[in-house]
Subunit: 293 residues, 4 copies
Amino acid sequence: MKELSDLNHCSQDEFVAALANVFEHSPWVAEAAAVLRPFAGIGPLFAAMTAAVDRAPHEALMTLIRAHPDLANKTQRATGLTAESSAEQDSVGLDRLSDAEYEAFERANSAYRAKFGFPYIVCVRRHTRDSILRDFERRLPNDAKAEMRTAIAEICRIAALRLDQLVVSDDRLPVHGRLSTHVLDTHSGRPAVGISIELTELSELGTSRVVARALTNSDGRTDQPLIGGRPVPIGRYELMFRVGGYFAGRNVPTSDPPFLDRIPLHFSVSDPEGHLHVPLLVTPWSYATYRGS
Amino acid sequence: MKELSDLNHCSQDEFVAALANVFEHSPWVAEAAAVLRPFAGIGPLFAAMTAAVDRAPHEALMTLIRAHPDLANKTQRATGLTAESSAEQDSVGLDRLSDAEYEAFERANSAYRAKFGFPYIVCVRRHTRDSILRDFERRLPNDAKAEMRTAIAEICRIAALRLDQLVVSDDRLPVHGRLSTHVLDTHSGRPAVGISIELTELSELGTSRVVARALTNSDGRTDQPLIGGRPVPIGRYELMFRVGGYFAGRNVPTSDPPFLDRIPLHFSVSDPEGHLHVPLLVTPWSYATYRGS
Amino acid sequence: MKELSDLNHCSQDEFVAALANVFEHSPWVAEAAAVLRPFAGIGPLFAAMTAAVDRAPHEALMTLIRAHPDLANKTQRATGLTAESSAEQDSVGLDRLSDAEYEAFERANSAYRAKFGFPYIVCVRRHTRDSILRDFERRLPNDAKAEMRTAIAEICRIAALRLDQLVVSDDRLPVHGRLSTHVLDTHSGRPAVGISIELTELSELGTSRVVARALTNSDGRTDQPLIGGRPVPIGRYELMFRVGGYFAGRNVPTSDPPFLDRIPLHFSVSDPEGHLHVPLLVTPWSYATYRGS
Amino acid sequence: MKELSDLNHCSQDEFVAALANVFEHSPWVAEAAAVLRPFAGIGPLFAAMTAAVDRAPHEALMTLIRAHPDLANKTQRATGLTAESSAEQDSVGLDRLSDAEYEAFERANSAYRAKFGFPYIVCVRRHTRDSILRDFERRLPNDAKAEMRTAIAEICRIAALRLDQLVVSDDRLPVHGRLSTHVLDTHSGRPAVGISIELTELSELGTSRVVARALTNSDGRTDQPLIGGRPVPIGRYELMFRVGGYFAGRNVPTSDPPFLDRIPLHFSVSDPEGHLHVPLLVTPWSYATYRGS
């Protein structure tokens, strides 16, 4: 990672080299920003880059869009993506799709390319595989003009996340969300300590996968957010709380087998940059949850 | 089914023939009860039969116990069970075990028979496959005397259910439980009408299977209990409520995708003859459940 | 009370005498209905009476309206109301108003009479004193035609309740509401037995007064509805549950003093003929309530 | 207020003068601590002072106890309390007792003095008037030795609070509690903004009094804790939330009058130095609360 102050004072070539792939294969965006240095923060730097994109002629934008790979395309993966693209696609599991998922992505990519003549682009770090496929379905009926706008908007989201990972600054781009929980034991009126929690990303087409595990601490919370320091991918999730062992360990009288043992909460994330708090209020005989803040 | 009054007034042979298999292959129990006719109800009739068992000598009880088949034994199934045993074993799915389950039952049966010299007996209508396997594990460490008592107690439970299915009387044996639900829409302060509900019996070793489907009526309840008119088998269950479509159909503003869509409640049944009420209080952003009554 | 069959078969004079004051001082309504006998139920009988009112000329309706006393008018009370009017006004406490309330009623009555030239009429059994005063305020801005319609509608509500108290029939007029509660102890997963409950009608101007006391039974409910067999008066209420002693009596560990002791629920009734269910789910550290059904 | 560093470096006389009344009329405690300077924090300073008390002979302790005024004694108030005592007694409202309360305090003081020969001492800042009277009742049956110990313990609590108000240091004595709330609108899945909240200290004998008013902010919380920066007095409280206007202002359909309008939560505080969080989850038709953390 680079300090913003270093980027403000290095040579123009060094600046462009450092930020060349913030916009995929498009160093001209960094070049346009370089002459506006120094920047007071990463916010103004990013604004300068997106302003350059906004001012760019139609042909340049089309080239920028076409510089992006297809999602989950095995041939392209073999011949080489930028490191950034590769890491992004891997983060959402596009490198380990089930056969059914792979076919669904292939079909969607082909249909999209056939209609619009450019690749489908989405900021994958804000998504799960399921929500990407739904996004495909939703965008395919659009006209080319609207899709071009959407593609540029997604490219800017990708760029913001790349910049956030490249540059250290006192200010932050608003690209991180947070998913947190809290377990209140309303049987004893205390935070529930030591509850084992598992967060699973649910998938309809492919395989659901555990994305976080944690234990509640002395305040009934987890030491780290379940997801934090990055967007919370749009999608469906399960939070599983093991309360049976917790109450048994406190010698709370219960039935045999206990009425409640493993409690699953299913919910969706719709705002990757927001803070979603999903608490559990629980006794051996009841529980409640809500979207908190 | 027979009317109790008919059984009170028929010949002794007819009475014994009718109730010969209430206790498996043991018409002597019905014979002992026959001479005590008339009975004021099915309760006194059953009491007379169990009293006969209580009075029987050790050898007769051992013969009664040995008259029972092994659970899920394919050879015995081929050579023939009583119609009653066969229906009971089928009801809990012992005729369609997965390989892993089949092996687990075989192992348990063999270990039990090897230790005690008589078959493991349990009233299967009060159980799921998982809870039978747990029962095996729990009872295997017992001594023979305790197990003989347990076997007789289970035989009496089996008999009560057989008698309940054979005899019509104004009074009822307390052998039926009930599982019910209720969906309150606390967003609009009304019963939630038309919510699709699915009840699944959860299995760790074998296959989970849907055991009831229902729609909530104008009172937010189901027209029939989810399980009723029989014991509610001991075991773990999932109730799945499709609330996403319900709120969407009422044009309630929500996120995209909706925060809550399909809500699973996981709970265990421990008292097959009890009334277990598992309601759902729900808004698009929160829900609560509890063991009701 | 009279059997409907008796009313169907008695002389016309007896019929009219029995129902003369169903509509205040207006036996002509009963006379009109008398000739349509026999009635299949109290529903058809009431429909015949209201049809007679609907058909009556303007002058007759005005006379009917003017036959009603002012609410809470001390002079009229001294010189005599019909027994029905007197009982109705007493039921809502109009015979024991505070000075502030009395003045408020006087002011409202005078303003109403001054504007419309006829008395303000409301079916007091469906109201509390507070809601009558709010009703005054709401109706005073109306024009005379609308108020005449409202007065007749209220007279018909009064008549329905009077008829319901006079005539026994297999069918019932839909004039009764119900207020019920239920206490679930979600600390132990059982109905809360023996909880002392007090229902108070809250008043802003006058004195709040306790209208029901009850103990929860073995199902956590009250043996009788808190209000039943009559309309549930529109107004604000408090339900007070004494849970501190309940949990102390079960030796549940708690703080000193207990976090929760007497739990008040405040709510309003808006539909006197509906069934309003206000349950309490409670542990020593939490509680919840909702409008149930 | 004094900086700890100043107290560490001033003359011994100045040090003693500054802390002379931390223990009522007993500068010898400050004198004993003065020679142990410098102190690394207010914690060690307080420990040095209480250690001096612990080491003091019986007679000195009795003198210390007797140096305290009776609670709520009008004659003593007229002839003069220390400024500290006076402020403490006023803070809990002992300067404006109802007649019934005044008599109750007089009776309790007299009974206590008659039995033990020294005044009843309690750290009033940790109490409400009701809880002081309950404390009297609880302590009166004790023997003199136990009461002397309790009196000294209460004197140390009083001293800790006085010291906390006198001395600025990086560390803090653990003498502050906190009472907070949070309103979640589970109808719209958001914090409830702009809800008017009133906190009332409930009294059985005297007058209940409002001790805090607040509006919820954009996070559904209050900008300041309802009580903070001091002990939360032991006692019974009401939190009143005006939710009717909130939902009406958001055009949420409801009944007329609204089912829920002003929601009172009644609860007790038992741990003055703890953090008590009492949230409200609310829709127009339901609400829940719990002791949070």
